[in-house]
Amino acid sequence: MLRFTADLSPATRSFVEDILAAYPDHEGYLVKSFRDRSRSTSRLAEQTAGLIGRLHAGDHRRLVEGYLWICRMVMEEELHFRREGSYRNSSFAEVNASVYQNKADMVLYMDGLLATEVLWSQHARCMDFYVNTFVPKLPTGFRHLEIGPGHGLLLYYTAIAAACGSLEAWDISPASLELTAECLARLGAPKAVELRAGNVFEEAVDRAAEFDSVTLSEVVEHLEDPLRALRNIHGLLAADGLLYVNVPVNAPAVDHIFQLKSPSEAVALVEAAGFTVDETLCAPVAGYSLTRALKADASISVAIVARRGPGRP
């Protein structure tokens, strides 16, 4: 197979070549992952690759190590999922003990997730959808909240929007918030972000209608009761506030405990919390059309823009 990297933009190419040097058998997957990306998705992935390079001072070794870790983990979980038809874990307590408290693995996991934002087409497409579809809908001076900001890339892309007024982020893990703060500082986010240790079940009390937008990206699958979380978020939003949700369906991972089986289930979940869904992006795993992914129960990232609207959940 001929190397396809010559067609990639510089930051993306440098990153992909470092991955392939460590994991040459992955070329077939990456060829599919970069094939047929829109110009917008490719351009944003290049920008993201540059940001990731900035976070790691141009040294991809940790990212490569994290990416290899995440690929091995996904293979193990996929085998379990295909055999049993369900995710391995179903309770927060299980994954808290086996994953979240394992600091060495969590470092690899977070670095690996960062790498997937460029390398996995479904993640790159959702990032593009967020930056170029969701954020431009937000009103001048918008007050934004992200729940579970992780490495802070989405917060960064929100902060650089001209219309952005203020930013806040919540996470149950103080260590995760430290990582977010460190990443935002390295990225040079142009606006301050108020970071709060807490969860959507407790923090939502007395914060009614305080935000114009809320982001919940790759969080739902980690929750035992996502409907309750979404109902609380509904209350946090102003009357015409917008919600961005990104949730993968049929996507086994060691810390995924809430399984959605189709994009329509994801939409129904958001609607059950009282939202009106405006737009949906379904981004299947690389190499699959949406039709084939639905037929094969393959992983699909579902990105949803929803409006609070006048109703109550």
Binding site: G28, Y29, K32, M75, E78, L79, R82, R83, G287
Partner: protein
């Protein structure tokens, strides 16, 4: 079930997993010969083979087949109750 019978049934599994009706389970066939045969689809193939033949591969076997012939031989061994 002998190796030839297993290979014949494997053809159907390969076609279903890789969504390609031209595939034939030739003994020398490898992942490099099939564009859609990546690491993730390999897992789908393994589990589809397990379900088709009502067997369960050992962890050491999952990524250990050099070609379809080795996979077919492993299936024959499992069916005969003499898995490695």
């Amino acid at each position: 079930m002998n190796r030839e019978q297993v290979l014949e049934q494997l053809t159907g599994v390969l076609r279903e997993v890789f969504d390609n009706d031209d595939l034939v389970a030739r003994p020398e066939l490898t992942a490099r010969d099939v564009a859609e045969w990546d690491s993730l689809n390999h897992i789908r193939l393994i589990v589809s083979v397990e379900k088709a033949f009502r067997i369960k591969f050992k962890t050491s076997e999952v990524s250990g087949f050099a070609n379809i012939a080795e996979m077919a031989e492993a299936v024959v061994a499992h069916l005969a109750g003499r898995a490695p």
